[in-house]
């Protein structure tokens, strides 16, 4: 029997693709938003606000929706989180604000729909009000930001607000970072990422240069020479290898590369297999699996080496995968790619279980094969140190080390977002960018600050 790898584009019609990649959770109508807002107790010292990495005053913005003060509502969100629009769409609210909503104590699983309300308010602002903030008088200070993802954008906006001039530099042609080419298409439908960047840039004072890569087209030393301060927000540019036989075969791909293709190209032009195996247990794995299904794959199996509890994908992400027809298999570790006539035909896994001390063991003799013509690896992203390797920047455990003021070990250079230690979430990146901007602003406004540095 001979097989040919069955990887093809255009498995579905345009019309089907439009449906499959449109908004996963459509916006609330005005009436729905008001009803939902009126459910809010307007808690004091609200636990939801404490759970939000950017500390949005949630009861305040929700009350403003209830009273019809849309401008105030949006402003409340955006002054804490200028990417409140994308956070409303991409945040795993079930483990953040909504998890802490006191309504759960009355009826588990029925928190106020904070994310949906946040989207309602920020959409209103983008539709009606444009950029709600104005710049302080220009300071003449110039700051370079490397990496125009959520961290870099939030930092740029805050610095611009304080009157500084910002140069945003990115290796990609477009600003946005993973919002633009990583997050699932149905979470940020209708070019939202781009619209949000445009909205944010309207503050003024921010220039963007794309297709410029640190370590290749310019160096950090040059930036330090030309700018008053530098913020590094380069995210995680690398992916972890699985280190098993056949990883380089045709048809084996990084999930993030697959998703990037899907986000940046016409969906019809993105090839997908009939039988797809996704390896990994995080949200990237879930996103890759679901989007492969939605591109037209017949069978998608997500295989994770441990159990539910250890998966970093949240329970709602898992459910989302399952309702999208993804088969989830647990406690299975990939041992090799299986080929037929040199062509990828499947993945072999060994079955495993938890030992008494909670670790995982796998039995190399107890194996099974999942047939596949496409394999997507989602076993984790890595920070690539090359661009800063020659500089005096301390990297530990694969991330840039910063102090509480987001300062790296190189004077005048700050860092935040995924390339530093902490949760790899959009909202955490926004907080880092914002707070680093405040720290830089403080340092630039009080020149002595940099001399008295230290941890």
């Amino acid at each position: 029997m001979t097989r040919t790898p069955d990887i093809a584009s255009s498995r579905l019609s345009d019309a089907e693709l439009v449906v499959n990649f449109s908004d996963a959770h459509p916006p609330l109508t005005k009436e729905q938003a008001v009803v939902e807002a009126e459910r809010c107790f307007f808690c004091y010292d609200a636990p939801c606000t404490e759970a939000c990495p950017t500390g949005i005053d949630i009861p305040k913005f929700i009350r403003a929706i209830a009273t019809g003060n849309m401008k105030g509502s949006a402003r409340t969100i955006l002054e804490s989180n200028i990417l409140g629009g994308s956070c409303a769409r991409v945040c795993p609210t079930e483990i953040l604000c909504e998890e802490k909503c006191v309504h759960n104590a009355r009826e588990e699983g029925h928190p106020i729909r904070i994310g949906a309300l946040q989207r309602h308010a920020t959409d209103w602002q983008m539709d009606h009000g444009g950029q709600p903030f104005t710049r302080a008088p220009e300071t003449g200070r110039r700051i370079a930001i490397v990496g125009a993802g959520p961290a870099g954008l939030a930092c740029a906006h805050r610095l611009a607000m304080h009157g500084h001039d910002v140069m945003l530099i990115d290796a990609h042609a477009q600003p946005g970072g993973l919002n633009e080419y990583g997050v699932a298409a149905y979470k940020l439908a209708d070019d939202f990422a781009q619209r949000e960047v445009d909205f944010l840039m309207k503050i003024g004072g921010i220039s963007f240069e794309g297709n410029r890569k640190l370590g290749q087209d310019f160096s950090l030393t040059e930036l330090r020479r030309d700018y008053d301060a530098v913020f590094l927000s380069m995210g995680l540019a690398g992916v972890r290898a699985m280190g098993i036989e056949g990883e380089a075969l045709d048809g084996v791909q990084d999930a993030v590369t697959f998703i990037e293709a899907l986000r940046s190209r016409d969906k019809k032009a993105v090839p997908v297999g009939r039988q797809v195996v996704v390896i990994g247990g995080g949200n990237t794995a879930v996103d890759a699996a679901v989007q492969a299904r939605r591109l037209g794959a017949d069978d998608v199996t997500l295989v994770y080496r441990r159990g539910h509890e250890q998966m970093s994908a949240t329970s709602s992400e898992r459910e989302w995968a399952q309702t999208n027809g993804v088969t989830v298999r647990l406690w299975s570790s990939p041992s090799r790619m299986v080929t037929e006539d040199g062509v990828l035909a499947g993945v072999e896994f060994s079955r495993g279980k938890a030992t008494a001390d909670g670790r995982a063991t796998y039995d190399p003799k107890d194996t099974f094969i999942v047939p596949a013509d496409m394999v997507l690896k989602a076993v984790g992203q890595l920070f690539v140190t090359d661009p800063i390797s020659g500089e005096s920047i301390l990297v530990e455990n694969g991330r840039i080390v910063v102090d509480r003021s987001y300062r790296t070990t190189m004077e005048g250079v700050y860092a935040g977002g995924d390339c530093t230690v902490g949760e790899d979430l959009t909202v955490a990146a926004v907080r880092d960018g914002r707070d680093a901007a405040e720290a830089m602003h403080l340092a630039l406004s009080t020149p002595d600050q940099s001399e008295t540095s230290g941890q």
Binding site: V34, V35, F41, Y44, D45, V102, R106
Partner: protein
């Protein structure tokens, strides 16, 4: 099964639920539907002299609160805008077809004896069970020296009541306006005039809101607004108090009361009965949901009476009146202290901030591990009940009455400069 039959100054109805004089009782069509739905009686929409009044278009304004519609309703309608003869013919037909239901006719004619003398026999001829004198309408009619313009002058109330009593055999119910400072004044006047009963409250003068785009009070009539009459659930507390004042007044000799004002459920009805009403009139709730609401009112009231062992309406009427006292009779030694059920608490912090910012700083806030915790500081709590009211969880914060050591009222209190010194025995 509790007996809900009512005999109100000789006007009989199978239950105490009447529709108040208003749009629901404007014409035969509505009233027949109301009787089919089970209403015990109606007070027909107020009749006046011909030519009929003219109503404006755009008539009601609503007070909505936190997602709840029409917690208060205001209107700028006048009395019936149909010819007298039309109304009279319809009343006659309806009464003939529903002899067991109460049909009371509301009247408002100029403050002249001739006018009243003229209309009374016409009404009597319909076979109606009684009349209600509308001394309450606070807008439109009062500017013509009718409605509240009469109700606000006790002498007029007495005079018109007397004319009616002298010129008809029908029982006379005087409907009182709340737009006065002391409800007892017009109530006494009605009694002096010979009224068989009083009904209250009529609507309260109000401006329901302002259209902020057009800068016009609502409801907007061609770019202008006027004050109207306010009713609905929000006015219930005002009605209960005025009814209670009349019911406990010794000089009013227990004059029968038809209670009106925000009655929407059987529970409201029971409260109105407890505060001294014998029959209950409803308008806004019917306008909000239609006539079918009477089902649950009848059912619920009857079930509640059974549960409490009240056999008839008379058993309930005025039950709360002995306990409705002037402030001076309250025991200043009584203390109640808030208690938070930590199991039920959802940790919203609303009790804390309410007491901290606006009451007596009697709730402490702490963190136990990662959990916030709110606790009553009993020594500081004055027992104001605020926390229990703001708490969104039923029965989470309860007020615990403390053992009482004797009685001390303000008249005897040492802080009272005019205290009455108890006679030493």
């Amino acid at each position: 099964m509790a007996d809900l039959r009512s005999n109100f100054v000789g006007i009989k109805s199978p239950n105490p639920f009447w529709l108040a004089s208003a749009p629901p009782t404007d014409k035969e069509y509505n009233v027949r539907r109301a009787f089919e739905a089970g209403w015990g009686g109606v007070v027909w929409k107020t009749l006046g002299e011909d030519p009929p009044v003219v109503n404006v278009s755009s008539r009601y304004g609503s007070l909505n609160y936190n997602g709840t519609r029409m917690i208060g309703l205001n209107n700028i309608e006048l009395i019936s805008d149909r010819p007298l003869a039309t109304n009279i013919a319809e009343i006659k037909d309806v009464k003939r077809d529903y002899p067991d239901r109460a049909v009371v006719v509301s009247l408002m004619v100029p403050c002249e004896e001739e006018s009243w003398k003229a209309i009374l026999p016409i009404v009597e001829d319909t076979g109606a069970d009684g009349i209600e004198l509308n001394f309450g309408c606070p807008h439109g009619m009062s500017e013509r020296n009718m409605g509240a313009a009469v109700g606000q002058v006790p002498e007029y109330v007495e005079m018109v009541t007397r004319w009616c009593k002298q010129n008809t055999r029908m029982p006379v119910i005087v409907k009182l306006t709340p737009n006065i400072t002391n409800i007892l004044m017009p109530a006494h006047a009605a009694l002096r005039g010979g009224a068989d009963a009083v009904s209250l409250i009529n609507t309260i003068q109000s401006v329901i809101g302002v259209d902020l785009d057009r800068m016009v009070p609502m409801p907007v009539v061609g770019g202008k607004g006027t004050h109207g009459g306010y009713c609905g659930p929000a006015v219930k507390p005002i009605a209960l108090r005025m009814i209670g004042d009349i019911a406990r007044d010794p000089e009013l000799c227990g004059i029968p009361i038809s209670g009106i004002g925000g009655i929407s459920t059987w529970r409201d009805a029971a409260e109105f009965l407890a505060m001294g009403s014998s029959t209950l009139q409803v308008c806004t709730a019917a306008m909000h949901y239609g006539f079918r609401i009477v089902d649950d009112m009848i059912d619920g009231l009857s079930a509640w009476m059974d549960e409490k062992g009240y056999a008839t309406l008379e058993d309930v009427t005025g039950r709360a009146i002995p306990n409705f006292v002037p402030w001076n009779k309250l025991n200043l030694k009584f203390r109640t202290i808030a208690n938070i059920d930590q199991e039920a608490c959802v940790r919203c912090g609303l009790c804390y901030i309410a007491c901290e910012d606006t009451s007596h700083q009697s709730i402490s806030k702490s963190l136990v591990g990662n959990e916030r915790r709110y606790e009553i500081i009993e020594e500081e709590c004055v027992g104001c009940n605020l926390c229990a009211h703001v708490c969104p969880v039923d029965d989470c914060i309860t007020m615990q009455p403390q053992p009482v050591d004797g009685e001390l009222t303000w008249p005897e209190h040492p802080n009272n400069p005019n205290r009455v010194v108890a006679a030493v025995s």
